[in-house]
Amino acid sequence: MRTLSTFFWRRPYWYLALLLVPPLLWFGTVYLGSLLALLWQSFYSIDDFTAQVVREPTLATYRQLVTQPANVDVVVRTATMAIAVTLACAIIALPIATYMARYAHGRVKAFFYVGVMLPMWTSYLVKVYAWRQLLAKEGIIAWFFSKLGLAGVLDAALAMPAIGGPSLSSSYLGMFLVFVYMWLPFMILPMAAALERVPASLLQASADLGARPAQTFRNVVLPLAVPGIAAGSVFTFSLTLGDYIIPSVVGAPGYFIGMMVYVQQGTAGNIPLAAAFSVVPIVLIFVYLSIARRFGAFDAL
């Protein structure tokens, strides 16, 4: 045993190899292998007449993806939703993150951290299911609005073109609410972590130099929180792009990228198009990551 450990101490690369081979073998075959298989299949195409997959490398599927307006619509719709959700999450998260990072102490602070993490880790499906009930026509949100005598406001919001619909549970507005709810903790936590790191002396200096609290917040705190916001936005953006459960459980009839992937591989049996569609979020996320990186997202993770 002792000679064995001395052997590895002297030859660290052998030790490393011994540790790394099992996880890499697993990861390389199961995960990377699958990703490559996916990428490979996106270069196949489907025969329009026989509906069989033609196993010859071609760009036809990608051409179909970028030239058919319906497919482009799906990508644009998903990206728009992802950006809107990210912005809304950032706005809602800001007071929470600020309060828990800068003002709350002791028990209140612990209460806030647990309070943000519990819903984050609560079963995903249960949360979606809960929202389906909340948004239903006779559900609690409609009840709440009518109790307040504001039923007209809700109807007016639902009557709006593009985002409205027959009820909250079948409109983009409702879907947007659900997305914001689901990913909010993923924005709050990195943002709070970034705000925790703002030195108190900077705030005092700002106050001493005559800035009002709002000015200090805008000119000192906010710029320092940007890396945290960027880090959080990576999660909200990426999670919205790939989700297919929420758009199929709550929401308007228009397709989203995730649903497109799901439907194409399933009922439509068009694995090549599904594969090509799933490359879209990968590309979008890498573009987004490179932007977020400039704002210091990786320093705040």
């Binding site: 790394l20 990703l35 828990m100 309070g115 995903y124 499906l125 249960v126 299911y129 239903a136 790939g242």
Partner: protein, 273 residues
């Protein structure tokens, strides 16, 4: 003349305080509502407020064999995936925590890819590979899919702990004459144990609750989340679904709360996914 309020770091404006508490309420109300609905006497609509409260649906849910089957399948999958992830994730963490070699950065990125990319990509990729390789969906394919992202969770937890462990401890142990295995047993493992356990708990909870990848790799098998998902589109037994929702929440929350307390003393707010 406008009075110039001095910046008081201990006194938030009402806007921040109000926004913070309202936001926290927003995050909890849906979950509380679902718990309330599990006890409602109304079984057809989502009527609010519930006309009455009952425990009837819990009896109904416990009598359903399909729920028990799905529950035990989910527990079995989570146990297998977690075990696999604990072994592989810990090995990877020990290898990558301190070492330096060419290609290490690429490996580090590789090991977070399954949670950085949307779950649907993992799902469709596994399906594409299964189709190419002629592998049928089964219990094993579900476990393989889950182990992939569970591994990342374990790896993240253990690697974070190892990086915080001062390198001098290992050197001191060796200098004092401990062998490699003694150092591992008396210095490294006691330090890593809680992170290892916490990673395992989170992985278990995540696997138990997973739907996005599972749909692609499950074939005809029905884990509890798949059972639940199907119910969403065929709302026949809505009250029973509500009860299952509460059960799922309870099963996932227990390991998560445990993991939180296991990692709390030194890395308080870092149980990130």
């Amino acid at each position: 003349m406008r009075s110039r309020a001095r910046y008081r770091p201990d006194r938030p404006s009402w806007l921040i305080r109000g926004g913070a508490f309202a936001g926290l309420a927003f995050m909890h109300i849906p979950v509380l509502i679902i718990i309330l609905y599990a006890f409602t006497t109304e079984d057809r609509t989502y009527q609010f407020p519930p006309p009455g409260l009952t425990l009837r649906w819990f009896h109904a849910a416990f009598a359903r064999s399909d729920i028990w089957q799905s529950l035990s399948l989910s527990l079995a999958v989570a146990a297998c995936a977690t075990t696999l992830a604990l072994i592989l994730g810990t090995l990877a963490a020990f290898a990558l925590a301190r070492s330096r070699f060419t290609g290490k950065d690429a490996l580090t990125v590789l090991f977070v890819l399954p949670i950085a990319l949307p779950g649907i990509i993992t799902g469709i990729a596994l399906l594409a590979a299964m189709k190419l390789g002629g592998i049928d969906a089964s219990f094993l394919t579900i476990v393989a899919g889950h182990a992939t992202f569970c591994l990342v969770i374990v790896y993240n937890n253990v690697v974070a702990r190892l990086r915080r462990l001062p390198a001098s401890w290992v050197e001191a142990s060796m200098d004092l004459g401990a062998s490699g295995s003694q150092t591992l047993r008396y210095v490294l493992l006691p330090q890593v144990a809680t992170a290892f356990l916490a990673g395992g708990m989170l992985a278990f909870a995540l696997s138990f609750d997973e739907i996005i990848v599972t749909i692609f790799t499950a074939g005809k098998e029905r884990t509890l989340p798949i059972w639940f998902f199907n119910e969403l589109f065929r709302p026949r037994d809505r009250p029973v679904t509500n009860v299952v929702a509460v059960i799922v929440m309870a099963v996932t929350l227990v390991p998560i709360v445990l993991a939180y307390y296991l990692t709390r003393p030194d890395d308080e707010h870092e149980t990130s996914r």
